[in-house]
Symmetry: C2
Subunit: 220 residues, 2 copies
């Protein structure tokens, strides 16, 4: 980015460069402080071109939210193989989630911090993505309950509550992990998986979830 | 509220009425849509008096955030007895938290939804309260680890991560519980306690946390 000004560049490539620059600027400076001048500079294009392509600062921010939301849910879905046991799917999904948020800290800041702190219509865009993740986790928990066969009738409402708890915990941990030097995506995923699967009670007794293997557990 | 216009009313009482009206209006309508006219009407005072007491819409909103944040942390602290085992303290704290957010849905909406969706300086006020709750939970988890004696060395960073996960899960569940008819504070607390303490793995095998007694468990 920055130096590329080839006028024959396809529109899609230019637009991607603008969105890359915008996500970085919005994520690091916040929606209000971010300037269209800075975004245009970072993308290596003129400000009028940004307006021509993306219309307004608001539309540009909305486009950033949509792109980052789509990328996040796609990353989680790509990380999970539907045929595997539910705890494996959950572990794979959490690792994919935390890997994506760690590799795209500006995108995550746009989704979790910026989009929610500047009112509608941005908050609604993020709520839709969150709902998609909640539905996905809800299905996993429901499947796990059926697989265990010991509690096939875990009530829908309990399953929904557990899914809300898990997604809220993941959001909180992703933001914390990105702000805490030295916490890897895998560690964040292991912390949440142990918390979610084994529970604090078992952790206290040194019995974390064992599915990620001895090298991946919590206590090292 | 509404009908009281006694001019001899002490300032503290008047101010409380204004804040009650403001929390209700901000919580239900949102910061931007809420009007000072509506707040003054609901408080049963003139609009100039609201400005005289609270200065501006922004200052009024900040005063609401501070009052509701203080009330929430006080409720959680009041619900917990320091001498009890850590899992009992956690259960008591969660019940106090969900009871408070259920009884004060407008206050919770101001803290969790409104304050965070309107940028600084409001978001910073809420972040400070959240940090206080995280520190409190972090201490509980650290104490629990020491109590269990089997894992006295649970690393500080893991404890911090678990506390972030738990607080994020509680925030998410409180908002969900308030939006879902028929979910009681006790049910929300039981769902999170089971999730946090026993873990999903044990839940699948019908072994929830048993500390809240048979009548308080998850599966009924």
């Amino acid at each position: 980015m920055g130096a590329v000004k080839n006028k024959r560049m396809p529109r899609a490539v230019r637009e991607r460069q603008m969105l890359d620059a915008a996500v970085r600027t919005f994520g690091q400076r916040g929606y209000r402080a971010a300037s269209m001048d800075e975004i245009a500079d970072l993308a290596g294009v003129s400000k009028p071109l940004v307006y021509l392509y993306l219309n307004s600062k608001e539309d540009l921010f909305t486009a950033c939210i949509r792109r980052e939301a789509k990328a996040l849910t796609a990353a989680v879905r790509a990380g999970v193989q539907p045929g595997l046991p539910a705890d494996r799917q959950l572990w794979d999904g959490l690792r994919a989630f935390f890997t994506h948020t760690a590799e795209n800290p500006d995108g995550w800041a746009v989704l979790h911090l910026q989009a929610r702190t500047h009112g509608e219509p941005f908050a609604a865009e993020v709520a839709a993505t969150r709902e998609e993740l909640v539905v996905f986790v809800t299905q996993l928990i429901a499947v796990a309950a059926r697989e265990a066969h010991r509690n096939p009738s875990l009530p829908d409402r309990e399953v929904a509550g557990l899914a809300e708890a898990l997604v809220g915990a993941a959001e909180s941990l992703a933001t914390w992990a990105n702000a805490t030097p030295g916490v890897s995506a895998k560690q964040a995923a292991a912390t949440l998986m142990d918390f979610a699967w084994a529970g604090l009670g078992n952790l206290m007794e040194s019995r974390p979830w064992s599915g990620s293997g001895p090298a991946d557990g919590l206590h090292r």
